[in-house]
């Protein structure tokens, strides 16, 4: 008998622990399952499967749900509850993990041109493709409390990214004498030789930022350089007629700077890092220095070791990609595959879908 009573009591207390609790202003507690909460009334089913009852919301001060959540119902609680949530989110630190990321990928580099052999002048685009590769490394050190406790949520780091494409092989377009269209070569040899040579893009960036529970923000500077290999160049002959200039082809100057500039880099994460969140980056993370320096990515953690990222390039091209990621013991391996939807170049249109595909692999270590 004693065993039965103890079992019944245990079950009753267990049931109590599983029920919601409504705390009233006069100190009474109501237990049951809250079915509906409106500004005017609380409907709940008392424990023991009794008929649904109603309580005016103004008579209650708090509801504690069986899953541990708690809602304040006094006007003071409601007002401060929302403000407290914002303050708590701003004060609580993020995961503050150090992060090393290495990535590399490949896709077609496209040279677009107009071909007058197509009769529709609004749709006479064609293109030449050549191979290109990109790679990069990024290091992020978080939690600088050793320097000063005020920097406990701070992080800083640097990244280096590179991109190269092969020489664009010239294509000869046939003549159409009946329509006065001469034979031509694209890219035109007499154009700036910089358009046709092997090119490298190198970006060097450094940044500093804060890592909080529901957001992170980094800001920095990226120095961008473009290098070319000049293999040959044309030199005017000394005895050349000014009206009909003639050139000799001589050796080029080798590796040269083509252009250099600086750009802001940034990272903005909204949401908790170990939950579904969205990240916007400019010249950060596994980016493409020529086709996708500004990107956005929504991360869906499916399981402890698997995350599915879906993202897009916003600049320099418009692209869509999927990036499944597997992570174990702090090591994350991700494969990004996508399609460029819009090159945002008036000379590049009507590409075959398979020529617009790109892919890259990244390896990250967090500690």
């Amino acid at each position: 008998m004693k065993r039965i009573i103890i079992t019944f009591a245990a079950l009753s207390f267990a049931n109590l622990a599983m029920a919601d609790t409504i705390y009233l202003k006069d100190g009474i507690e109501k237990h049951g399952t809250v079915l509906k909460l409106t500004p005017s009334v609380i409907e709940y089913r008392p424990e023991g499967d009794k008929p649904v009852e109603s309580i005016p919301t103004k008579e209650a001060v708090r509801i504690k749900y069986e899953d541990g959540r708690s809602i304040g119902l006094s006007s003071k609680d409601r007002e401060s509850g929302l403000m407290n949530k914002f303050k708590s989110a701003a004060d609580t630190q993020g995961l503050l993990q150090n992060h090393l990321l290495i990535w590399g990928g490949a896709h077609n580099h496209i040279y677009g041109y107009r071909d007058s052999r197509y009769l529709d002048q609004n749709d006479n685009f064609d293109y030449i493709k050549t191979d290109s590769q990109q790679m990069g490394i990024e290091l992020n050190i978080a939690g600088l409390s050793d320097i000063d406790p005020a920097f406990s949520s701070t992080r800083m780091g640097f990244n280096i990214a590179g991109y190269r494409h092969d020489k664009i092989k010239p294509r000869t377009l046939y003549s159409v004498p009946l329509h006065n269209i001469p034979e031509e070569t694209v890219p035109a040899p007499e154009k700036d030789a910089f358009d046709n040579n092997i090119k490298w893009w190198y970006d060097f960036g450094f940044f500093i930022g804060i890592d909080k529970k529901v957001f992170a923000f980094d800001l920095g500077l990226t120095l961008r350089t473009i290098l070319i290999t000049e293999e040959k160049r044309k030199k005017l002959r000394p005895d050349s007629d000014p009206d009909a200039p003639q050139y000799d082809e001589v050796d080029g100057r080798g590796l040269m700077f083509d252009d250099a500039n600086a750009a802001l880099n940034a990272l903005l994460r909204l949401g908790m890092e170990d939950r579904t969140h969205i990240t916007f980056t400019a010249f950060r993370a596994s980016y493409d220095p020529v086709y996708g320096a500004v990107q956005g990515k929504v991360s869906f953690p499916i399981a402890t070791f698997f995350t599915l990222n879906t993202g897009a390039y916003f600049w320099q091209t418009k692209a869509a990609f999927l990036e499944p990621e597997i992570s174990l013991y702090g090591i994350a391996l991700a494969y990004k595959a996508g399609l460029i939807l819009n090159y945002r170049d008036k000379e590049i249109k009507n590409l075959s879908i398979k020529d617009c595909a790109f892919h890259s692999v990244s390896l990250a270590y967090q500690w």
Binding site: Y118, L119, D120, H179, G271, T310, Y343, I348, K349, C356
Partner: protein
Amino acid sequence: MHTEQGSYNKVYRSKEYTDNTSTFFPVLMQNYGIETFIKRSESEKAGIGYVRTIINEGSVYNLDHYEVQPYTEINIPYVFCGTDMGIIGLEIGISYYLVFKKYEGRRYLNSDGSVSEDDADIRLDQKNSTVFPNFLIRIFPENKYHFKLALSRGRFNAVDSLLTASFIYPVKNHSAEFFYSLPADIPGFLPGSNQRTGLAYSYTLFNVTLGFTGSYLSFNHAGGGDGNMPLFDINNFSCGIFLEMLL
């Protein structure tokens, strides 16, 4: 899940009138969409959605040539995540705006001057396809009167209602909504959208909500230009139904 049917009003300059006035011809436009989300906790909401807008092909004779509207499909898959704090909800994500068009075969010159033609096919329109962030902001709780501002979220049409502001007033199981679509157009970033004004009514029973919408095209912006239309032209109106389920 939602669906809507109306007209896409293709704008062109009429050569039949001396003032070259902008006018339009209508083709059938249909819209379908579905959106689902998971809410794990107050601070974590994640979801996906898909909207498909189909514009039928059509043409009209304009004095000496045909004005053509090719068959066009706009597909917008999208993802989003966000937080719902009761009095305010904030969600942000990414939308992929994919435009597929039927292209006629390209005619080209051979070296002997003869003309050949490629095959016609439906291809991705790489000039008008794009990606952009989407968002939804809700002010005031869902079960009271509340305001929503949404870009490429909820019940929307790829041509008519990409950016929509709405006021929803629920009364017991009934809900009335007034919505206003804005002609969002940021070149190179956001595709153009028409301006529509509409009303919606829905009824909720248990966890299922069934609703009806009706709207009026108040400004034709995405149909190739700003066309002049009669005020009460039947082609300005569209209607639709939607179904929501809480699982």
